[in-house]
Symmetry: C2
Subunit: 114 residues, 2 copies
DNA sequence: ACTGATATGTAGAAGAACAAGGTATGGACC
DNA sequence: GGTCCATACCTTGTTCTTCTACATATCAGT
């Protein structure tokens, strides 16, 4: 019952979103599917996390939206990276590598001297 | 001004603490130093994060405290892993590896088909 | 007597993610 | 025509973690 209730590492959602639309615009629903796929079913982004995050990123100017017709023939909001979003993506990738490496170091540290 | 104000990846602090006392008891202050060292100055655990985390972990039964004299000749609270804490550590290490790998997969995913 | 490193702690605020709910459209099937 | 499901968007309220900033005390050295 005291199980982890978090599907995501807090702080990585923005990075995942930005990365997912790096090469082409996508709508929210498709992003979640794509992240689930590329993470091999590990990272399940909830809609209640996704949409607020998209609005946050848009407000900060990192992504911009445009209504277009999706493959399904339904209207959907396609988000694409802005130039500032591209910069942000690069920074967040750096940060992630930095933290992940640092944590790895701690996990591999020797038991220490007596 | 919109800089990341987080020194840590949310959700990893417990893991770092548990790992740091895996082989010998330590007091809080020393844990923070040790994490800073082993992470090569990357992970700076704030005192306002550390002590509440220790109390949380103790309340959950993962660690236990004992007052002892530190090298400095001052009294300090030494925390050690309980059996249940050892199990928890193993689980959190698994989780971390799982997530880190998954995120790496997303970051390395191909730009996708047309 | 003062300073700096050691050592523990709390209060308040911010922020992210989650659970759970709601709305609506298009296609397929009966 | 009616029903169902996958698609697609969104919000509200809650929980949890961490941060900033502060408060306190001891010990060693000057």
């Amino acid at each position: 019952m005291d199980l982890k209730r978090s599907d995501l590492l807090q702080g990585t959602l923005d990075l995942l979103i930005l990365k997912t639309i790096e090469h082409r615009p996508l709508h929210g629903y498709a992003m979640a599917q794509r992240i689930l796929e590329t993470s091999r079913e590990v990272l399940a982004v909830q809609q209640g996390s996704l949409y607020p995050a998209l609005h946050r990123l848009e407000r900060k100017g990192f992504i911009q939206a445009e209504w277009r017709e999706a493959e399904s023939k339904r209207m959907a909001k396609f988000y694409s990276l802005t130039p500032s979003g591209r910069t942000q993506l690069a920074e967040e990738m750096d940060q992630w590598q930095r933290y992940a490496r640092a944590i790895q170091w701690v996990l591999q540290a020797e038991g220490a001297a007596s």
